[in-house]
Homo-oligomer: 173 residues x 2
């Protein structure tokens, strides 16, 4: 097996990306925990629901919008439910499914947490990049996601939730 090593520019880019992957989530998470007593992931669950008409989604749809596995989401929803921020309910149409709805408390929570979170995203990402770089970053992320997530579950996030993520060939090959 001939090893395709990384040349200088590639290595340089990868090392830096890796550092971002390692450090950025922690910073965002810490801010939300401190100021809103929420995980970043919890925040995005609430946030996703808050942006949905009816403030409710099926578990599976919610998992598409938040890049989560179903088990993980289920645990998180359980915790949020215990705190009264969301509620589960089932639809008689398909009794396998569970729907999650944002409660008024959950809505209020998101309203209070959003400014701080947006501010830190601005401070650590948006503000340090030029408009040009922001466009570049979108394109780069898109390219990586296309390979990472061939079903394009993610890129559908801010568009639709109405169709399943195509043949799920999520093989790490």
């Amino acid at each position: 097996m001939d090893t395709p090593w990384l040349d200088r520019p590639q290595l340089s880019s990868w090392v830096r990306l890796r550092a971002v992957l390692e450090l950025l989530p922690g910073v965002l998470d810490a801010q939300l925990r401190r100021d809103a007593d929420l995980t970043e992931f919890e925040y995005y669950v609430l946030s996703t629901l808050s942006e949905t008409p009816g403030r409710a989604l099926r578990m599976t749809e919610l998992s598409w919008g938040t890049n989560a596995t179903l088990p993980r989401l289920s645990h998180v929803v359980t915790r949020l439910q215990k705190r009264g921020l969301v509620e589960r309910f089932s639809c008689p149409e398909d009794r396998r499914t569970t729907h999650v709805r944002l409660t008024d408390d959950g809505w209020e929570k998101v309203r209070q947490a959003a400014p701080g979170h947006v501010a830190i995203v601005h401070h650590h990402v948006i503000d340090v990049l030029t408009d040009e770089q922001i466009r570049q970053l979108a394109a780069i992320s898109d390219a990586i996601l296309a390979r990472l997530d061939p079903s394009e579950t993610m890129t559908a996030t801010y568009t639709r939730y109405d169709e399943p993520p195509k043949p799920q060939t999520r093989d790490v090959k």
Copy 2:
């Protein structure tokens, strides 16, 4: 408090970056666990040591090179030590410090794991980007890191290990 919201291009870029942050580490981690029985972080600890003259570093220096807190690193080193991949030893010069050295087994482990890991980095990141985008990504990551890690601990990674990370104002403010 007037909230500086995200406009369309910014939001688009952030949503995609977030998805990458969420998904990419898991994919890399899964490959290493499966093929080498190593965490990605464990791999980078071993890898960092393997690239160091003498294949040894102080704990603190090692933490600079791997973006880890000292407690985390300490735990990981303990595990690696139990598996015989690294060994701790102390230097009489400053008896507070602990040094970590890659064992022959550890060296062999890294040698075996590297090709697979490099391959998946190629497949998921390098190969989907143009040379131009790789340069852009390095610049973007640099900008984010500069804010994230004002001490520039990270950018020093592939250069030097010999000086402390300047006044540690790692305030999440």
